[in-house]
Symmetry: C2
Subunit: 229 residues, 2 copies
């Protein structure tokens, strides 16, 4: 279909910064571009917004198409609109960040992506477009937000140990945390439920498992409660 | 000029939520629309992004054109892209918020705006488009940000009393603050410089004037210092 407009207008895309956590560190999901421009280069998953599609829907669709991921935590990050960020034409991109439990999801490249893979956030290849500017903005947002919103749990399995939770915060905040202080703060939120279970198949002494009480958090949040860790 | 595209694409606009503070309360700047749709209705100042214009520049241009304001603090807020938010066609809008010292600026409607005026944030008329949804998002951002970034000073004159500063925080946070505690916190930031001057022309006992030490803040910020009030 061809459409005429009175004035030339910027094209609109979405891009997704998808974070996951494994045993070692914080990871970001990248795809290898199948098409020009930047063919063969790694990039954030994303693509053009359809004229009849809400922005969040466009982000979820592109993520599913290019990486196979769906049903993940996704929030708008920032809109990048510098001139010249795309060699083809003027393109404005609404960036999102997503948080994924690595165990639940297997990524699978498709459509415009030749390959999809997880990279340590501090060891990514040079990215296509201005994606090397988008990634640090997403990291800063995650760093700021994880302390006053319980979004970190999106990166953990439903049942986790306090050491796993601490490792998550250390990976995101990029600094070691004092174990005693951290546990006091985490348990002090009143939002961790101690389970009647311990870790399985570990060489060291099996640690207690906990879960995050999302329902309680949502109830408290309505009354103006502030999460803080 | 007419341009053809292979696919129909959303139009792109910017909208600005401009906050100011007067003796009484927190105000927002609205314009009365001169053109359809919503002709005669109050709205946030804004308009279409040009194809060769960065987003921030578009926001500053529209603000200047429609209200006469320039050189103000301006930051991107969020991008609103729900279907049907504009009756003409699919329009995605990048919203900004701006902070203005009321004494410095006189607003003056022009171009697409018939009138420009300040309204108390809790007493605005029904706005055009989805602007009634954008305003509370801007207020929430301001509320969250004023506590950990020294942006509130953008709303005050260069020299201010501690009472003025407290009134600013009370207006934004929408709750009374304990005077002694507030002063301790504010002075505790180490960023208020006590001046050798007091208020002029006041009926009550003239209070001491202070200024915000922006240079010191910028220096400290580089070393990871966190502002908190």
């Amino acid at each position: 279909m061809f459409v005429s407009y009175e004035h030339p207008r910027p094209a609109l895309t979405v891009d997704c910064v998808v974070f996951g956590l494994d045993e070692e560190d914080l990871k970001v999901l990248l795809i290898r571009r199948e098409l020009d421009p930047f063919r063969g280069r790694w990039a954030l998953p994303g693509g053009f917004v359809r004229v009849d599609e809400a922005l969040d829907d466009a982000a979820r669709r592109e993520l599913a198409e290019e990486t196979g991921l769906s049903g993940v935590f996704l929030e708008q990050l920032y809109t990048f609109g510098a001139l010249g960020r795309d060699p083809r034409e003027r393109v404005v991109s609404v960036a999102y960040y997503a948080l994924v439990k690595l165990g639940d999801h297997r990524v699978k490249a498709a459509t415009d992506a030749r390959e999809a893979a997880w990279f340590a956030v501090d060891d990514t290849p040079a990215l296509a477009f201005d994606h090397d500017e988008i990634l640090p903005v997403a990291l800063e947002r995650l760093k700021g937000k994880v302390r006053y919103r319980p979004i970190g749990f999106e990166l953990l399995p439903p049942k986790f140990t306090l050491s796993q939770l601490q490792r998550l915060y250390e990976a995101i905040l990029e600094r070691p945390l004092d174990k005693r202080n951290f546990r006091k703060k985490a348990l002090g939120t009143g939002l961790l439920v101690e389970l009647d279970e311990v870790e399985q198949d570990v060489a060291h002494r099996a640690a207690r498992l906990y879960r995050f009480d999302r329902r309680k958090y949502e109830r408290l949040e309505k009354d103006g409660f502030s999460f803080e860790i």
